[in-house]
């Protein structure tokens, strides 16, 4: 009971529960909307959720306005995220004496935030699903397939391999951009304009990716982030050839497609019940109807001969009810849109057409596709050629001597040293930097809570016991993290290194003057 089943090698648990449900004694099970692993004994599930609920309630005595974030115990960390009002997601990770299992709470919370954001993009808010169907079958069914598919990226055998201190120079929940020249920017601009007019008078939105990097977007930052994350997870050429080793920071290990068999994913009845409500206009409404709509199911996604990435979501029994392109709900843009994915070599185009404008459903989508092929192909080829010519490869953003991470939280953008280079850092340096990041996370959340309302600048520069320098600098909301292993012993050396980096690669954003 309690934090784990007590068995060695439990790995991680992830649960989603609704505190508004199961309030009567004996009905506690009704709170649980999702639990990973699905074969975890019910009593243990109840025990985990019982502890979490107890601590949430207890901490509210003193902190009514702030959510419980973490329970840290000797052998486990429970990381919390209140995804929606009273709907909590908790990730439980096991520690052991081996420092390899050293986590950063913020990084783990990032996983919860990411999976919820993606879920909402496809199915709408969990609360809406629950309101629509109070028995929660639908919400449970979708959560079960979606979160399980999402977690498959972290699977290593039966366990989950979550980001550890070794990933401290990565930032989940940010977009990685490709830096392009002015000339290419004009080409991209021209492509975006053509893409925007694929549906005649109705403006289409688009994202253009090169490899796993974002080239352009017409969506607001939050929506861009969600779609970009999805693309990197499943749609880019690397993602589609998923079994190859990837340098993408979002993917870990090889995939094991564990399809849940839990009773909560019982589907046919609910699918039948909801399949006919095709005129649903609520966020994500249409996708909710199809129990087998699994946008993260890797093997159902493939690139067709026409260059479009299509899905094989529809199973024989419900064929016809599933559109060729899924409908996504974009919270920031406040619109539901059909997603069309087109790929040419290393370029991936995500084209979004407002669902409300597609009166004839699949026919309209076919029209959009035709339009894209007829009018945008040449632009796409040109842009791809130019980007490929200028592309420096995986190590394009490597800066000799530095191992760094730059984050702009407002724009939700980051850039980091290539993972292959980060692995050259010693364990001690990575542990120290991970610890420093944890401290900076706390400082940032404090600054966020303070009344002053302005960004607080701070800087920490540590010479660790292995003589490496680990550095964190936050200036006007932008963040720079750095590890320098081969350098001078004086603080002045470290300061100068930061200064040089800032002047050369950050337009002086972190420079002293």
């Amino acid at each position: 009971m309690g934090l784990s089943s007590g068995a060695a090698g439990d790995g991680a648990q992830l649960c989603v529960f609704d505190l508004r449900r199961g309030q009567q004694e004996g009905q506690e099970l009704d709170k649980i909307l999702f639990f990973h692993p699905a074969d975890c004994p019910i009593l243990l599930q109840l025990s985990v959720i019982g502890l979490c609920e107890g601590i949430i309630t207890f901490s509210r005595i003193f902190s009514p306005d702030d959510d419980c974030e973490v329970i840290e115990s000797e052998n486990h960390s429970h990381v919390f995220h209140q995804a929606e009002a009273d709907i909590w997601m908790v990730l439980v990770v096991e520690k052991n004496k081996d420092s390899e299992l050293t986590w950063r709470c913020g990084a783990l919370q990032g996983i919860l935030k990411e999976v919820h954001s993606l879920f909402t993009m496809f199915y709408g808010p969990i609360r809406t699903l629950l309101d629509r169907q109070p028995s929660a079958e639908l919400a449970r069914g979708h959560l079960c397939t979606f979160v399980t598919d999402y977690l498959s990226d972290f699977s290593a055998g039966k366990k989950l391999q979550l980001p550890t201190f070794r990933d401290c120079l990565k930032e989940r929940g940010t977009v990685q951009m490709l830096t392009i020249s002015r000339e290419v920017a004009l080409e991209v601009q021209s492509l975006t304009t053509v893409l925007g007019s694929c549906l005649g008078n109705v403006m289409c939105q688009s994202l253009v990716l090169f490899e796993d990097l974002l080239v352009s977007t017409t969506l607001p930052p939050d929506d861009t982030l969600n779609l970009y994350t999805y693309a990197v997870l499943r749609l880019t050429p690397r993602a589609l050839s998923s079994y190859a080793n990837s340098w993408s920071y979002l993917r870990k290990g090889t995939s094991v497609h564990a399809v849940p068999t839990s009773s909560s994913s019982n589907g046919t009845a609910s699918v039948e019940r909801y399949r006919n409500r095709s005129r649903d206009t609520s966020p994500g409404g249409q996708n909710q109807m199809h129990h087998y709509f699994r946008p993260l199911q890797r093997e159902k996604l493939y690139k067709g001969k026409d260059g479009f990435v299509t899905t094989d979501f529809a199973t024989s029994e419900i064929r016809g009810a599933v559109p060729l392109a899924p409908i996504l709900w974009f919270q920031q843009a406040e619109d539901r849109m059909h997603l069309c994915v087109y790929q040419h070599k290393n370029i991936t185009i995500l084209l979004l057409t407002p669902a409300s404008s597609l009166i004839n459903g699949d026919e309209d989508i076919a029209h959009v596709k035709r339009h894209l092929l007829e009018h945008a192909s040449q632009n796409i080829v040109t842009v791809e050629q130019k980007l490929s010519r200028g592309w420096g490869g995986e190590n394009a953003y490597h800066v000799g001597g530095y191992r760094y991470l730059l984050v702009d939280p407002d724009r939700k953008v980051s850039r980091a040293s290539p993972p292959g280079k980060v692995t050259t850092l010693s364990k001690d340096s990575l542990l120290s930097l991970n610890r420093l990041r944890e401290e900076i996370d706390l400082e940032k959340s404090r600054a966020g809570r303070s009344d002053s309302g302005h960004d607080k600048d701070f800087e920490v520069c540590i010479r660790a016991k292995n003589n490496s320098w680990v550095i964190a600098k936050v200036t006007r909301g932008r963040e720079l993290y750095m590890a320098l292993e081969k350098g001078g012993e004086t603080l002045l050396y470290a300061s100068t290194a930061v200064e040089k980096f800032s002047n050369r690669y950050c337009e002086g954003a972190f420079s002293t003057d």
Binding site: S4, R60, I61, V70, I71, S73, N75, R435, S445, R463
Partner: protein, 573 residues
């Protein structure tokens, strides 16, 4: 001085009571005894063994309980005179303890000295009170059956339900074979420490680090042990519903003083003690006479001025940990009865031996200066009294007590006095400090605070387990500012000494309040605070000068040849 000390007239050394019995009797009697126990009463207790009421008569429980009764009955005028002394560089008086119940709000208003001295704690509050919930920092001690033992705010009895909840949380996790360390919710942190049958919890929104708060709970537990020893665990083994609160009856002031120290006394996180600056010859005179005594059967002899050590000596192989010095001083300084007469009290030094009592003879020579003689013998009162008399004579003749008062007034380290001579820099500074900087003279005229914006520093000698800190400049004269700086130091300390990755060698940290530097070498740790606009290179030069300055003064500000604590600890570990 009390002309009639009332020690326990010790009957039979040969039949000491088992510790269990001591505690049992203690729990029954502590509440009834006057501040200075009367001989008659002691004799009554003789039947039950000398260590019962007799020994505890002057002991923590009794003395403090009586003191509590005494002070709670006082009017405000009298109250104002009660309470621990105010260290010169701490901002102590302005920060005392808690505030009025009407002061609800996350920001406790700066409490009045009277509140603190009264030793309580808003007893009208409980967990249902909005004001109680908004207190910035709670401390709880409870038993593993959920019985409240101590709460910083509110009446323990009214907090029984709350205490049971804490116990349930801890036990729930324990039942899964795990141990809960902390919970974080926004700016609140709930830190747990389990020590056998005793649970300690801190609920804080002070933005201190987990390591810092945990260290404070460790000291709280140490203070419990100092009063009761670890033998108290046996009572819980026999009776899980054992009510330990009665044993600690009247010690609220001790815990409040301890909690208060967390925000002003660097000893609480540095795990080092500080000395009163004295001329070497004066200190030698004091040390010599203490050494004489140590050679005649005293385990430890400490001469202290407030929380600063003047001299301390120990019997051969006896090791005194800085935390024990801190807890002992806190206990003595927060218990008024020690000041009014010489006292003989069983106390436990948790780092020395958590299982056994020592016997402390305490005598105040004046308002600030006091002698503590620790013996293993419960019948040592008269011997220790004679020793004290001898010490007092020698100290008077050597003018030590006058020098102590003088030092208290004059000898603090002021950052403005930092020598300007840059030539001293050539003397082997630590490698990290050896910046190749143009040796232009620093302009103190343009500096804010000390030279180059220096505001404050703490220097800890690692071998000596001693630290020295500068006085606060006018810029940090406000207690709130001082508290903020100490918190910044605490964070820096926790970061430098991180268990998994530390100790680090150097740290530079800059925020909107300060520029902070820390260097750790094999010899010392330096923590220095500068104005946030301070220039990095200039600040590094100043740190070099501080280190050199300390070396120049080391014979006056540190005690050499004191109890070999560090070395001893290594040997013991």
């Amino acid at each position: 001085m009390d002309p009639n000390p009332r020690p326990c007239p010790l009957p039979n050394d040969s039949h000491p009571e088992p510790p269990e019995k001591r505690l049992a009797t203690l729990s029954l009697r502590s509440a009834h005894l006057p501040p200075d126990f009367a001989a008659a009463e002691i004799q009554e207790d003789d039947d039950e063994g000398y260590l019962t009421a007799a020994s505890r008569g002057g002991s923590s429980s009794c003395a403090a309980a009586a003191w509590k009764d005494e002070v709670e009955g006082l009017d405000d005028d009298k109250d104002a005179n009660v309470g621990p002394p105010s260290p010169s560089s701490s901002g102590y008086a302005g920060e005392r303890g808690s505030s009025l119940a009407s002061s609800a709000g996350v920001d406790d208003p700066e409490p009045q000295p009277d509140d603190w001295a009264r030793g309580k704690k808003h007893v009208d509050e409980d967990d249902a009170s909005a004001s109680w919930r908004k207190r910035k920092k709670h401390f709880f001690i409870l038993s593993n059956s959920g019985k409240p033992i101590y709460s910083r705010y509110g009446d323990e009895h009214k907090l029984a339900g709350f205490s049971a909840t804490l116990q349930a949380i801890i036990s729930f996790v324990q039942n899964s074979g795990d141990h809960i360390k902390f919970v974080r919710a926004g700016k609140h942190q709930i830190v747990f420490l389990v020590k056998g049958p005793i649970y300690l919890v801190c609920i804080s929104c002070t933005e201190e680090s987990y390591e810092g708060l945990r260290g404070q709970l460790e000291l709280m537990y140490g203070q419990v042990l100092l009063i009761l020893t670890k033998v108290v665990n046996r009572y819980f083994e026999k009776n899980p519903r054992f009510d330990m609160a009665t044993l600690l009856g009247g010690t609220d002031a001790v815990f409040l003083s301890l909690i208060h120290a967390f925000s002003w006394n660097p000893a609480t996180f540095l795990h080092a003690y500080t000395c009163l600056p004295l001329a070497q010859s004066t200190r030698q005179a004091a040390s010599a006479v203490l050494q004489d005594i140590a050679d005649s059967g005293v385990l430890f002899a400490l001469l202290m001025c407030e929380h600063k050590v003047i001299s301390l000596v120990g019997a051969q192989k006896a090791i005194l940990h800085p935390d024990d010095i801190f807890l002992l001083a806190n206990f003595i300084l927060s218990s008024e009865s020690f000041r009014t007469s010489e006292s003989f009290s069983p106390i436990c030094l948790p780092r020395y031996n958590p299982m056994a009592f020592l016997y402390a003879y305490v005598h105040f020579f004046d308002e600030n200066t006091y002698l503590t003689l620790l013996s293993t013998r419960p019948d040592a009162f008269y011997d220790l009294k004679d020793s004290r008399s001898h010490i007092q004579n020698v100290l008077s003749k050597a003018n030590v007590l006058v020098e102590v008062q003088k030092s208290l007034r004059e000898s603090a380290l002021h950052i403005e006095d930092l020598p300007a001579d840059p030539s001293s820099l050539s003397l082997s500074p630590p490698p990290q400090l050896s910046e190749d900087v143009n040796s232009q003279l620093l302009s103190s005229e343009t500096a804010i605070g000390g030279p180059a914006g220096l505001l404050h520093f703490i220097y800890k000698s690692i071998y000596l387990d001693q630290y020295v800190s500068s006085e606060f400049p006018i810029l940090i004269s406000n207690p709130k500012q001082q508290k903020r700086l100490y918190k910044a130091y605490q964070k820096m300390y926790a970061s430098m000494h991180d268990k998994a990755t530390g100790p680090h060698k150097t740290q530079f940290r800059k925020n909107e309040d300060y520029v902070l530097f820390c260097w750790i070498t094999q010899e010392f740790e330096l923590y220095a605070a500068f104005n946030p606009l301070a220039d990095k290179m200039q600040a590094i030069k100043i740190c070099n000068r501080v280190c050199q300055w300390i070396r120049d003064l080391e014979n006056e500000i540190f005690i050499y040849g004191a109890v070999p604590s560090l070395l001893g600890r290594y040997m013991r570990d």
